[in-house]
Symmetry: C2
Subunit: 442 residues, 2 copies
């Protein structure tokens, strides 16, 4: 029971470096919890030159990932190179060679998870991926085990630290999206190509995994309606404040009964206004939080750093430790990776966006003259949309455009869309109307 | 692999009824996650008459706990009777008979955990107790596994729903402690004898378990300084608001380096002022939350219902499911109950309250006449305590007493105590000075 478990790391970037640091700095507490050591025996990366500021003494470090995958001293392979191509090939090769895999690669799993998990089951190895959702937050473990007695009813998550940082800054400074994004890029909080983050794709990858785990529903990344934060303006944050709300980019998933009584999944990613006094509304900066509602446990929330060297490494090393315990006891496959056993994960119909029923925040841009508001509200009324409140911002320049902010009572999205199409065709309306959905029950 | 795991339940009170409901209502999702059924085969309770509103068809229900413990169809015993006497005897008997035990009994474990965990290890069975801390929140699992790669630095928890409900109501209504407590009792949120809750004892039981798990420190319930909420007044909540804070009853535990470089544990339960914009400050009503700070993961927070029939049952059934997996695979003892292996749990010295260094909120009650404030501040100054702000409440009746509220800069508790002793002996001071400690880094 005291022989060590050997770990091979592919990709010594930010997170890989964090993993090397945690395995070294916390070796004592890790061994006091496991009863045996976990040792990083080998690292593969193309860049052998950059000093990562971590002591790699005693660790074989080269650029040969094939040799790492063939090394009998490597029992667990940590895949931290990201992307779909090479990462997928390396992951499947590791699995075929009977090695367990730990990854933080949500994109890979959201798109190719079915194939990868099936290969892992066929080869009796684990694919662990706690770090892929919510960074250091142990949300996947909690879904799989801590809340395992529950029928999950809904989840609402701030699952992308970059966008949450941008939204928090926009709210605080009143600056435009592009200004704040540029600063986030300069500070290293956002990538040079920010689209995975700001267009909601990264959040949708993560939501795909959570939907499968929450509802036993097949991985359906392509079916998740996804809208990012590029269109938000400082005015929207002011309006949210007036309405007692804040704006967050949420991944949302609910199990709802269809008209035929069959379960359907309502899953989507979009900017959302939520009540200011909810815990989720108070999650600021690059932090993440996932609120999960179970039929027995009721509301829960899990909060922590969603990214970063050491927080993400915390999750990777937790996975290594769990696998190390299983290696020692020969119990790989103790818990199904997506919580439900593979044979119980079904394709479930998705709720179309048009069927959504929610309060909406609408921003109309119209010529500043009498009668325009009446025209707009008439179209809303004809489409069965009733209005809760209206804010008409002060006069613009003579003959210029002014924003009209309207909060609706709960309305069907298809009706709202039909009304907006009609309103946007009015001569007096000078820019496309914007819509932010409101969620109240978190 | 498809034979069922049998569960015997001792104690069909609120939580026991919840367990019966969850096992019945969610049998399908439980089996889809485990791959085999978990069945409640037997219940023992002295009250065979009361209708609990749950279908017990097919479950043997009598008052014979001895027979339950002897039943070969019972693989897992759920102890939900509470207290130290009978509960301890039943638990140890179950363990000796090779049965796994699930319990929500924090009092039992805080006081007799060492003996019970040792017996479980000797008999190769599990004692699981997720429900004993934070109700439905999977905090113990998260400490043991999700954050296992971390050196835990501190934790701050709202761990008692009754007191959090009372504090939230006092703040909201401005009513006195006794009035709100009475209402909480009428609503069933507080016991007829509320002392376990309002004097902080229940929170200290829970903190005892968390301290062991966080730091590998021996269970030391008796050493945890514990102060309840009975002395708080509506004025204190107003003052907290003026200072940008809220008052919560917290269990606090930190690992700190002593002057000799040796690790010491700072563990305590007391009403605490915390910044209004912290997540923990926004946990209201009967909800619980535990903020855990790890060296790798940084700040995390786990939120959910800390009590109640179904939330607590959610945690009990999660434990049953984990044990059921282990029974199927013969892997009891996969994870150490207190996170650190027993041989690595050490007695660690405790930081004495006098050594604490914190900002303090002080409420002096003094005669309403010139010079009194000068006297009080002089004594504080002589004891090296510097003042951040003072609020002197409006005139009382002529010759009556007025409260003087002082917020100090960080000061050593022993110095504060010495100053208060001296101040309370002044002729002009008409009631004992009250102290609420402030925590800023959560």
């Amino acid at each position: 029971m005291s022989a060590e478990v050997g770990v091979g790391l592919i990709g010594l970037g930010t997170i890989g470096t964090g993993v090397a640091k945690v395995l070294r700095n916390n070796a004592d507490v890790i061994e006091k919890r496991l009863g045996f050591p976990v040792r990083l025996v080998r690292i593969a990366d193309l860049d052998l030159e950059t000093d990562r500021g971590v002591d790699l003494t005693g660790i074989r470090f080269d650029d040969d990932s094939d040799a790492l995958l063939a090394d009998p001293d490597v029992h667990v392979v940590i895949e931290l190179i990201g992307g779909y191509g090479v990462a997928k090939k390396l992951t499947l090769t590791a699995i075929e060679r009977g090695k367990h895999v730990v990854t933080a690669n949500k994109a890979l799993l959201a798109l190719h998870g079915n194939e990868i998990f099936a290969a892992a089951a066929a080869n009796s190895v684990e694919v662990a991926f706690e770090a892929s959702v919510g960074g250091g937050i142990p949300i996947l473990r909690s879904m799989r085990e801590g809340l395992a007695a529950n029928r999950i009813e809904s989840l609402h998550g701030i699952m992308n630290g970059t966008t949450n940082y941008v939204l928090t800054e926009m709210e605080k400074t009143g600056e435009d999206f592009e200004v704040v994004l540029k600063r986030a890029q300069d500070l290293g909080y956002a990538e040079a190509d920010p689209s995975f983050d700001v267009d909601g794709i990264d959040a949708a990858h993560k939501l795909t995994l959570l939907v499968a785990m929450a509802f036993g529903a097949e991985l359906t990344f392509k079916d998740i309606p996804t809208e990012g934060i590029r269109n938000l303006t400082p005015m929207d944050f002011d309006a949210a404040e007036e309405f007692g709300m804040r704006i967050k980019l949420l991944g949302i998933a609910k199990s709802v009964a269809g008209a035929d009584g069959r379960e359907r999944i309502d899953a989507r990613v979009h900017p959302t206004m939520i009540p200011r006094d909810s815990l989720l509304a108070n999650v600021d900066g690059a932090m993440n939080a996932i609120a999960v509602h179970g039929d027995a446990v009721g509301p829960t929330l899990f909060y922590g750093a969603g990214a970063g060297e050491l927080p993400t490494a915390s999750a990777v090393v937790a996975d290594i430790m769990e696998i190390a315990r299983e290696i020692k006891r020969g119990t790989a496959g103790r818990v199904a990776p997506l919580s439900y056993l593979p044979e119980h994960i079904e394709a479930k119909p998705q709720v179309a966006m048009g069927e959504l029923f929610a309060r909406c925040y609408l921003v109309f841009t119209a010529e500043d003259r009498p009668g325009v508001l009446a025209q707009i509200t008439a179209v809303l009324g004809e489409n069965g949309i009733s209005i809760e409140s209206v804010i008409q911002k002060g006069q613009g320049e003579a003959g210029g455009s002014v924003p009209i902010l309207i909060l609706t009572h709960p309305a069907k999205e298809a009706s709202v869309r039909a009304a907006l199409d009609e309103i946007d065709r009015l001569d007096e309306v000078t820019a496309p109307t914007r819509l932010v959905r409101i969620e109240e029950e978190l």
